[in-house]
Symmetry: C2
Subunit: 501 residues, 2 copies
């Protein structure tokens, strides 16, 4: 509903509120007085034909904001993009129908594709408040959703975003479900598959609750914020790409939900499945290989939980028209050395370059997955693994990776952290356990993924012999505060890596 | 955790962000650079020995904020109360243990008093983000909680607030569960019971999802924001009071949760029960009469739902040591004429003054409840209703009400709205239905409860005969925008009051 229009000049508030759009108005402005707006009211702001819902902050005084001007936070400014001289109009944002559907979901109703579509549409438009999105996410987590309902949610997510089509070609994709720290196989797999002539239009996510997503890590090596047209041209030229899903708009609703999930530090089974499969559908993939690490260091801890999730993933996949194949892998400990964007990127480069110091476990995992994917794509019946190994070892995967970097806008050098600290073993012995949850936490406290150079270099694996004082890991941080913060946390959780004498 | 302290001068941002504390720092300030803070980070802000968690908004430019100053939003300023020359220190706000407990609740764990107490404590301290509170509320709503678990939640709420004790005297209280628009019996019941010599330390809430709470309505007649000491002295002098629960700090956690429930527009059974009973416990009441209107116009629609809720209320009451008695009443239509703070207050005054125009239904309901309460208090065995009627009709209830107003700080005159619009019947006939949900919505769109004079004067009841064009209701608003907004809504939902020919 949209009444009582007031035209107002707009200016930049020069205040960064992250993704939440905020509009600042004077308490005694004509708009506030005539509309009866009060602080924290959610209002429609329209500039030209662009319209968003923003939260109102009332400026009670202060000469920085002239009385009949509206100031926009950086996020609101970006989304409305006012041109010089353009004015804005304001109106009450009525509670949308989707808010009622969210309440129904909280109280146990099943929603269909149309209902989910309304929620996803309003999520993208910012018409739902963050607390409403949080209650939706909690309801999806608290009540088990049927495969059919998750399929409806998946299709609704695809409905409100862009979608790629690749004609008659067989389109492959891979995804790691329930991450394992440092398990950065994707760039290697994409390079191998594309080098072998496969078509793999890969979009990756940024970290939700982990210290780094594939997109965060790859951004230290090349631009990943490509638009849809640019992504399409990279894939048409090189057969593969590694771009951030959020920038191509293939699943904008999921991106908005992830922003809230990151604060809540949880993602539910239903959201996980819908998030993964909606992106594959939108990217135009038909054959999807899902890597699922299972073990104490992974999100999926037991084979039983893995089987339940696998069954649901395959069911929902079939319901939305995807051929989903599951590959369980060992989730006993982190993979590679780096945990954090730049540190993980360097592991990937080392594997591609066949460096003697390259982490062996990362190489083996990438080859396994690439092999399965080549077979799924009908490109190497029964001999996928050998074909993958050849492409990696003869350097064609490395050349393909470089070509993709160039096609995406040019190769970058991953940054080094300004502050590092080495952590040594308290006594000699054998490494018997590595607590992945605390390790991820530690990397996040050090600044990952927001600070790309931040994170952890893990210098030992399970079973390694260490001497007293020999280094277990190196902390990397971009600020002294973050480094100290991580060190304090480590001091309280020094059992993070256990060494038995 | 509290590391890397930075002392910084503070100033008022003069920005009203409602209840969410926000701190504004320059992007290039020493604090942001050394701590690695980014927009929307949650940080501890300490001034003297007062400490809150606030959301960081980063000021990217603008001369209003000097580089090494921190500006505080109005709510942060109020809560920290910096004295001239005092500085603030900042540190990272680690995710609290209570956030982990909320996730456990979402995934189905039962929490105990200690767990709930942590969540309630952090809710009060602002250590939990609004989206975390929203996920907690949604989890409580989505998963049915046992009476025992609700009792634990109730006791936890009491643990983190103040609590009143009244010695050996028998302390009474009443509460209306699941409101009915206009059903403002509380002030009348308190006046009657106190006039008869009973002890009734009544705290009331502000509106959660309705157009007015008792506290909102009574605030147009007298100050209701009394501190605990002031409340105690009013009750010791007059036997009763009508104060806002939020101001006395008897259930500060509940007040913080209600702020989020208001945005979500729902309150769950568990929250409802814990909210009501924790306040009664904290006020020192032992015998509680719960009025539960049942019918299409009330929150509780069916006798079956009423019985389920009643049983749970009595069970939880017994578990926490309260003698709870239920009184079901007719919830077929709104009570009285006014819907909205000032309009409801005028109905109350009319009943107390025995005005011939006073709404009969409101008088009858108040007398019923006062009668039951006098019997529950052992003050009128079997003749409660007659005793109540005598106190109302001989003017002693009115005099007591005036005395309470005086004791709370002085009588006020309820405001009149600047804008009104009359809505007439489209055709002649009999009033066959009044949609309470749409009516509440309409009153809220007109500005209630934020604008105290706003709301609806309902001029008909079920069964009334009306002519074409004869007035069904009058809309009241404090701004032209709000009035227009309500009128637009009514135009889309004109079946709100149905008249059959």
């Amino acid at each position: 509903m949209n009444t009582a229009i007031q035209r107002t000049f707009v200016m930049r508030a020069e205040i960064d509120t992250y993704q939440e759009p905020v509009v600042y108005l004077k308490a005694d402005s004509a708009v506030c007085r005539s509309e009866g707006f009060a602080a924290q009211t959610r209002i429609w702001v329209q500039v030209g034909n662009r319209r968003i819902v923003a939260t109102l902050n009332v400026v009670t005084n202060g000469s920085w904001l002239p009385k009949d001007f509206a100031a926009l936070s950086e996020s609101a400014w970006r989304r409305l993009g006012p041109q010089p001289g353009e004015t804005a109009t304001f109106s009450h944002a009525d509670a949308p129908e989707s808010a009622r559907l969210i309440r129904a979901k909280v109280y146990g109703d099943q929603l269909d594709r149309g209902g989910f579509r309304l929620i996803m549409r309003d999520t993208i438009d910012g018409a739902l408040a963050d607390v409403e999105l949080a209650s939706f996410l909690a309801a999806c987590a608290a009540r088990s959703m049927s495969s059919d309902e998750i399929a409806q949610l998946t299709l609704a997510m695809v409905d409100v975003g862009e979608r790629l089509h690749w004609g008659a070609r067989r389109v492959l994709d891979k995804h790691c479900v329930g991450g394992l720290a440092g398990n950065r196989t994707t760039p290697i797999v994409v390079a191998i598959v594309a080098a072998c002539g496969g078509l793999i239009p890969k979009t990756s996510s940024r970290a939700i609750t982990s210290p780094s997503g594939t997109a965060d890590a790859m951004e230290t090596l090349m631009p990943v914020n490509l638009g849809l047209a640019a992504m399409r041209s990279v894939v048409e030229r090189e057969g593969g790409c590694i771009v951030w899903g959020g920038s191509v708009g293939l699943s904008p609703a999921d991106d908005a939900l992830i922003r809230v999930e990151r604060v809540l530090d949880f993602d539910s089974e239903a959201q996980l499945i819908a998030s993964v499969l909606s992106k594959k559908l939108a990217a135009g993939a038909a054959h999807v290989l899902l890597d699922m690490p299972v073990g104490p260091a992974a999100k999926i801890r037991s084979p039983k939980a893995a089987r339940t999730l696998s069954a649901k993933l395959a069911e929902v996949g079939a319901a939305v028209g995807l051929n989903v194949r599951l590959h369980m892998s060992d989730g006993a400990q982190p993979v590679g050395r780096g945990i954090g964007p730049a540190l993980e990127a360097r592991d990937v480069l080392a594997v591609l370059a066949r460096s003697p110091a390259a982490p062996r476990d990362l190489r083996e995992r990438a080859l396994d997955l690439a092999g399965h994917l080549l077979e799924l794509g009908g490109m190497a019946a029964g001999s996928g693994r050998e074909r993958a190994e050849r492409a990696l070892d003869d350097g064609s995967a490395e050349r393909k990776f470089d070509a993709i970097c160039e096609a995406q806008g040019g190769r970058r050098t991953p940054p080094h952290a300004a502050y590092t600290a080495s952590i040594g073993a308290a006594h000699a012995g054998t490494v018997t356990s590595i607590d992945n949850r605390f390790l991820s936490k530690l990397a996040k406290l050090a600044g990952a993924p927001r600070d790309p150079a931040a994170g952890i270099e893990l210098l030992v694996h399970l079973g390694d012999r260490v001497e007293r004082g020999s280094p277990l890991m190196t902390l990397h941080a971009e600020t002294a505060g973050a480094l100290q913060y991580a060190l304090d946390y480590h001091a309280q959780h020094h059992q993070l890596i256990e060494v038995e004498a």
